[in-house]
C-alpha cells in the first residue's frame, strides 16, 4: 500500500512542494520559538535582557539564574515531591483502572451496564467545584498533601481505554483458560495483564504527564500548605512574583533585575523533564488518543 502511495507522488519536486515545505518549516518553528526565547532569556545577562537584545540565542551567557533555581531548596524539594506523587498516582491509577475495567469485560456480569453507566455519567456531569471543595473540607483533605493523590486515583476515561484494550484480547484465550479451570483472578493475572503492558504504558504516561503538569488541585485545596505545593504551583507563584528565589551570586546586580532570568530559568527547569521524555512517549499518547476515539 505504501508503495502505491509513493507512486502517486513520483513526480519531481514542484513549486507547490517547496511552498508546502516552507510553510511547514514556519509552523514547526512557531511551535518551538517561544520555548527557545524562554531558554535564551534564562541564559542571558540581566543587562542584555534589559537592552532587549535577547531573542532566541543567549546574549552574554550566564548560568547563575539556573544555579539559583537549582540551589533553591524549596524548588528542588518540590521537584522531588512532585516526582514522588507522580509515581504514587501512576501506580494507584493503574491498579484502580484494572480493577474497574476488567470486571466490565465480562458480558455475563449482572449489573455491568448499570455500573458502566454510573462511571461514564461522571464524565458528563461533574460534581462541581464548590461541593467538591466542601467534601474535601469535611474529609480533612484541605491543605492535606493526600488531596494531590486520592481524588486522582481513577480516571473514567482511562478506565474506558483500558476496557477497550481488554476487549481487544481474543475471548477465546479467556475461554480456553476457563475450560482449564482458571478463575477470573488467574485469567487477569496470567493473560490480561501480561498482554496489556503497552496499554499500561499509555495510561500510565497519561496519568504521569497529567500529574506532573497539574496545579489546579493545589490552587484550590492546598492554599495554606505551601510546603506541599507541586512544582507547577510553585512555578506559578514564582512567575507571579509571589515567591522569591534567592539569587546565588547576583554580581552587583539588584535582585529585581534578575527577575526575568530567574523566572525563565524556573520555567525551563519545570519543563525539562517533559521536554526530555515527550519525543519518546508521544507514540503511546497517539495510540491512546486514537483508541479513545474509537468508542466511549
Amino acid at each position: 500500500m505504501s508503495k502505491k502511495r509513493k507512486k502517486h507522488y513520483t513526480k519531481a519536486t514542484t513549486p507547490g512542494d517547496i511552498v508546502i515545505v516552507i510553510l511547514m518549516v514556519i509552523l514547526a518553528l512557531l511551535c518551538i520559538l517561544p520555548v527557545l526565547n524562554v531558554l535564551a532569556n534564562a541564559l542571558s545577562s540581566p543587562e542584555a535582557i534589559m537592552r532587549r537584545e535577547v531573542t532566541i540565542f543567549p546574549v552574554e551567557l550566564q548560568t547563575q539564574a539556573f544555579a539559583s533555581i537549582i540551589g533553591d531548596s524549596r524548588f528542588m524539594f518540590s521537584l522531588g515531591w512532585t516526582a514522588l506523587i507522580t509515581v504514587i498516582v501512576v501506580i494507584l491509577n493503574l491498579v484502580m483502572t484494572v480493577l474497574a475495567a476488567y470486571p466490565l469485560t465480562y458480558n455475563s456480569l449482572k449489573g455491568r451496564k448499570i455500573i458502566s453507566f454510573y462511571m461514564i455519567f461522571t464524565m458528563l456531569f461533574g460534581a462541581g467545584l464548590i461541593p467538591t471543595f466542601m467534601l474535601f473540607r469535611d474529609l480533612g483533605l484541605l491543605n492535606n498533601p493526600l488531596v494531590l493523590i486520592l481524588p486522582g486515583m481513577l480516571g473514567v476515561f482511562n478506565m474506558i481505554l483500558m476496557r477497550n484494550f481488554f476487549l481487544g484480547i481474543p475471548e477465546s484465550l479467556k475461554e480456553s483458560a476457563e475450560i482449564d479451570g482458571a478463575g477470573p483472578m488467574t485469567i487477569l493475572w496470567k493473560i490480561y495483564i501480561p498482554l496489556s503492558l503497552p496499554s499500561f504504558a499509555t495510561i500510565g504516561l497519561f496519568v504521569a504527564v497529567g500529574r506532573w503538569n497539574g496545579f489546579q488541585d493545589a490552587l484550590f485545596f492546598l492554599t495554606a500548605a505551601p510546603d506541599w505545593h507541586p512544582i507547577q504551583m510553585l512555578l506559578y507563584n514564582i512567575t507571579q512574583n509571589a515567591t522569591q528565589v534567592d539569587v546565588a551570586s547576583p554580581g552587583g546586580v539588584s535582585v529585581q533585575q534578575w527577575g526575568a532570568a530567574i523566572r525563565n530559568a524556573a520555567i525551563v527547569v519545570a519543563m525539562v523533564p517533559i521536554l526530555c521524555v515527550y519525543p519518546f512517549i508521544q507514540k503511546y499518547f497517539v495510540k491512546g488518543a486514537t483508541l479513545g476515539a474509537v468508542k466511549g
Binding site: 518551538i32 461522571t122 496545579f215 489546579q216
Partner: protein, 327 residues
C-alpha cells in the same frame, strides 16, 4: 462477541439469574462455581465503586446546597430549603450575564479558530514527500500539547511583556508597545492564539489516522483523469476525512462552554475582567475566595446543565448523521 455467540448454547442462568458459562462437566457443580467466579469479579469492583461514590457521587449530591441556605461550619447539604432563591439571584445579576456571554464568546471563538487549524495542518503534512521531514515536523508540533498550563502562561507572559519579543518586533515596525495582558480588548486574541498554538499539532492525530485509510487507487484513478494535486485534495482527500471532521465538530460543539478554565484564570487580570471573566473564574472567586457557597453552586449547576444539554443534543445529532456517538 463472536466467541460468545459460539458458546451461546452452553450458557445457562443460575438461581440468581446470572448467566454462567457451562463448558463440559456436570450441571450443578458448574453453576455454583459460576456464582463463585462472579463473586470474585464483583469484589474487584469494590474499591473503584467506593472511590466513585466518595469522590464523584457525594459531591454530586452536594449540589443540593444550591437549593438550601448554607451555614458556615454546617452540613455539606445546607440547613434550610430555599428553593430557587439562589438561581433567581444570579438570574437577576448583571455580572452573571456578563460572565455568561464572555464564556459563550470565548468558547465559540476558540472553537472557530482551533477547529480548522489541525485539518489544514494535517492536509499539509499529508503532502510532504520526505518521511523524515514529516516526522520531525510532527514531533515539534506535538510539543505544546505536553506543556503544562502554568508553563504555557509563563511563555505567554514572557512573549507579551512590553519589553518582550513581540513588542520589540512591533516597535521596530513602528508600532506602539502594547501591554497585551492588561488590555481587555486583547484578551480574547491572546487566549485564542495560545489555544491554537497548543492544539494545532496534536489535533492532527485523528485526521492523519483517517488519511491513511483512504484508498490509494482513488488517487491513481484521479491522476489518470488528469486531476492535479489541488483537485485531488478537494475531491478525494477532503471527502475521505469528512466523517472524522463531522464527528469531531459535533463533539467539540458539545464541549463548547468547557472553556479552558485554568488558562483563563492564569491569564486574566482584574483590568481585563470585561472580556476575560468567565463562569469558571467567577465561580472560583465567589465560592472559594469569598465562601459564597450556595450561590456559587447554583451557578455551577446551571453551567453543568447547559453542558449536558449541549452534549445530549450534539450526541443525538452525531448518532443520526454519522452513526458515531459518545453513548
Amino acid at each position: 462477541m463472536q466467541a460468545s455467540k459460539k458458546l451461546s448454547g452452553m450458557k445457562i442462568k443460575d438461581h440468581d439469574g446470572n448467566e454462567v458459562v457451562i463448558p463440559k462437566t456436570s450441571f450443578g457443580k458448574k453453576a455454583t462455581k459460576g456464582f463463585k467466579q462472579n463473586w470474585q469479579i464483583y469484589s474487584l469492583l469494590l474499591l473503584p465503586l467506593i472511590w466513585l461514590i466518595i469522590f464523584q457521587y457525594i459531591p454530586m449530591a452536594g449540589n443540593a446546597i444550591a437549593f438550601r441556605r448554607f451555614a458556615p461550619g454546617g452540613s455539606i447539604l445546607g440547613e434550610t430549603f430555599v428553593g430557587w432563591h439562589f438561581f433567581q439571584m444570579f438570574w437577576a445579576d448583571t455580572i452573571f450575564w456578563r460572565v455568561f456571554w464572555n464564556t459563550v464568546i470565548l468558547g465559540v471563538g476558540t472553537l472557530l479558530w482551533t477547529f480548522p487549524m489541525p485539518i489544514i495542518f494535517a492536509l499539509l503534512l499529508n503532502e510532504i514527500k520526505s518521511k523524515k521531514f514529516k516526522k520531525v515536523a510532527q514531533t515539534l508540533s506535538y510539543l505544546p500539547h505536553f506543556l503544562s498550563v502554568v508553563v504555557v502562561v509563563g511563555l505567554i507572559q514572557q512573549l507579551t511583556r512590553t519589553a518582550g519579543p513581540i513588542n520589540n518586533l512591533l516597535y521596530s515596525l513602528g508600532f506602539e508597545r502594547i501591554p497585551f495582558l492588561m488590555r481587555a480588548e486583547w484578551f480574547r486574541t491572546v487566549f485564542i492564539t495560545s489555544r491554537v498554538w497548543q492544539t494545532t499539532g496534536w489535533g492532527t492525530i485523528l485526521y492523519l489516522a483517517a488519511l491513511t485509510n483512504i484508498d490509494p487507487t482513488l488517487y491513481e484513478a484521479a491522476m489518470m483523469d488528469g486531476a492535479n494535486r489541488w483537485q485531488q485534495t478537494l475531491f478525494i482527500t477532503l471527502p475521505g476525512i469528512a466523517p472524522t471532521v463531522i464527528t469531531l465538530l459535533i463533539l467539540n460543539v458539545g464541549w463548547v462552554l468547557g472553556v479552558n478554565f485554568e488558562q483563563v484564570l492564569l491569564l486574566q487580570d482584574p483590568l481585563t475582567f470585561r472580556t476575560s471573566d468567565i463562569i469558571g473564574t467567577y465561580l472560583f472567586r465567589l465560592g472559594i475566595e469569598q465562601a459564597n457557597f450556595s450561590f456559587a453552586t447554583a451557578v455551577g449547576l446551571f453551567q453543568s446543565l447547559i453542558g449536558i444539554f449541549l452534549l445530549t443534543i450534539t450526541n443525538l445529532l452525531s448518532k443520526k448523521l454519522t452513526d458515531t456517538s459518545l453513548w
